[in-house]
Symmetry: C2
DNA sequence: ATGGCTGACACAAAATCCATATCGAGTGAA
DNA sequence: TTCACTCGATATGGATTTTGTGTCAGCCAT
């Protein structure tokens, strides 16, 4: 059986004459007759009743006609879907992000833009810790992950730096250094030499941790580390509870948390927080490529 | 595009190697490579990633693989359905019957048997008057009709006589000839010479009408016809209302109608009521043939 | 470094699909 | 009734397509 047989059969059924169907198909009548008979022979079923004038569908022929049309349409759809999949317009994408990522305005913006540009991609969003995200990436449970710190083991992964932002000092609202207005005068880092710091734990992602330590060292002191938090947002809970101060990405300021005040810092080098997108190096999925292209393009033009 | 391409592609996808797929397909590797490339060329999409050891599906290839399997399965189902349709195991059948037909035990019995023997045929039952049924048959709204009287215009139709049964006298329960037990002694037709008869109207089907008249004539009198009824069952309503007597098929006795008593007749010739099945002569549907075969076969062995 | 496996390429062979010519059956009109 | 016409079936030759054979290049694994 070949599709040709179905196409021929449909033409004959629609025309009611083998001769006219042959014309429509751009062929001669004898081979068409032959192909139809071959189809009937393979099915073991008479599809046409040959009449003196033209042919007529049998009951079985009518049944097959409907199915044959459906099959051809099935194939058309399959081909279209395959082409769209190849163009990255169709498929699935699982995007992971750490709890702090969606506070950066870039992340929801790029997700929205991607949904708009490829509405037929089933997009799944998963929030998780950085370590878990990296594991999920490796095990193909996640295709791309927005993270906020460089990871230690990059084997098999690509980490694209997208944006950077300043870090703000988060401090308990009752703290003497807390300012009524979040946009108070920048605070020199040296003013914090005696304070206790709450930090994002280093083994989850050394980047933020190290940049904070480095900034303090550059300011001439070695910070006193109090508690470590498993997630960036949870550092704010500890700050609110009065367990110390924290340096957090500026975008977290959007998270209006009771009992936490923010202050800008001054001095160089200022600690900065990156926004990164991690993917599998071996992932050649067109959907991912499309996503990656969009993310990089938007990152380049993102207002800083 | 031909199905061959899909079959080849599935084999390659499943084996992971063009060479092994070629073995499985009973062909050599070069032509298989060529056909796969032809498929890719037509789609304009790369389906396989050629690796040093075997091949790997691209995202688009994975999408197509699922669809290709579905398409082949679609074709298998279509072929199976076509074959079953040709055998009359699949399809639709509309069976019509006059209001009096289902009282004959043969009718529900044969319908049940047909449903059991061909459960995948969508069977529709339609009750209507004889004249309408004949019209419905001609216009292909009905495929077979159980009727209780010969019809006048048979053009294009086949009417199969199935069974015959005696006719009983239906008379008002208050009538002097009414007997307490329905199985009273047979009544000679001559006893009814002075009575008024309610009859099934002749133009709807001359058979019953004529056989009643003929029986009376044979008994030596010309019956006095009162009202005509449009349906056999409605004659019983008229009888119950005291508008006269009626001769009805014996099976209508099952219809326990208040105010109507039945008596058997004696003498020859007794008027008899046929059960007939009308079909379109040109209808070659396997479903109908199957139904017709069953009906005729069961009619032959039906206990009389 | 080398042997073995895999896929691609080039050309010959085979299959089959199609075109031409012809026939037969059935229909409609003279 | 007969003749012409239409339409599908059959037979045969040709051409395109598919397949088979031989060969080469590239990459792993030993």
């Amino acid at each position: 059986m070949e599709l040709r047989h179905l196409r021929y059969f449909i033409a004959v059924a629609e025309e009611g004459y083998i001769t006219r169907a042959a014309e429509r198909l751009g062929m001669q009548q004898p081979p068409l007759s032959q192909q139809i008979r071959a189809l009937e022979r393979e099915l073991g079923v008479q599809l046409l009743r040959r009449k003196p004038r033209g042919v007529e569908l049998t009951e079985a022929g009518r049944a097959l006609l409907a199915d044959a049309r459906a099959i051809l349409s099935h194939i058309d759809h399959a081909f279209a879907a395959t082409r769209r999949t190849a163009r990255g317009e169709l498929g699935r994408l699982v995007v992971g992000f750490t709890s702090s990522a969606p506070f950066h305005p870039f992340v929801p913006r790029v997700i929205r833009a991607f949904r708009d540009s490829a509405p037929d991609i089933a997009l799944t969003l998963e929030e998780s810790g950085t370590t878990d995200l990296i594991d999920d990436l490796r095990h193909e449970r996640v295709d791309a992950a927005f993270i906020r710190t460089q990871v230690a083991d990059l084997a098999g992964l690509t980490v694209n730096p997208l944006l950077e932002e300043a870090m703000l000092l988060a401090l308990p609202a009752t703290h003497p250094l807390a300012n009524d207005s979040a946009e108070g005068p920048p605070l020199p880092l040296t003013a914090l030499a005696a304070e206790t710091f709450v930090v994002y734990r280093r083994h989850s992602g050394p980047g933020l941790y190290d940049s904070i330590i480095a900034a303090c060292h550059a300011a001439g002191f070695s910070p006193h580390i109090g508690q470590e938090a498993p997630r960036i947002v949870s550092t704010l809970n500890l700050v609110a509870a009065g367990l110390g101060l924290a340096l957090v990405p500026a975008s977290l300021q959007r998270m209006q948390m009771d009992g936490v005040a923010y202050r800008r810092l001054r001095g160089t080098p200022q600690p900065r927080a990156p926004l990164l997108l991690a993917t599998r190096r071996a992932d050649t999925s067109p959907v991912l490529r499309r996503f990656l292209d969009l993310v990089k393009r938007m990152a380049r033009t993102f207002p800083r």
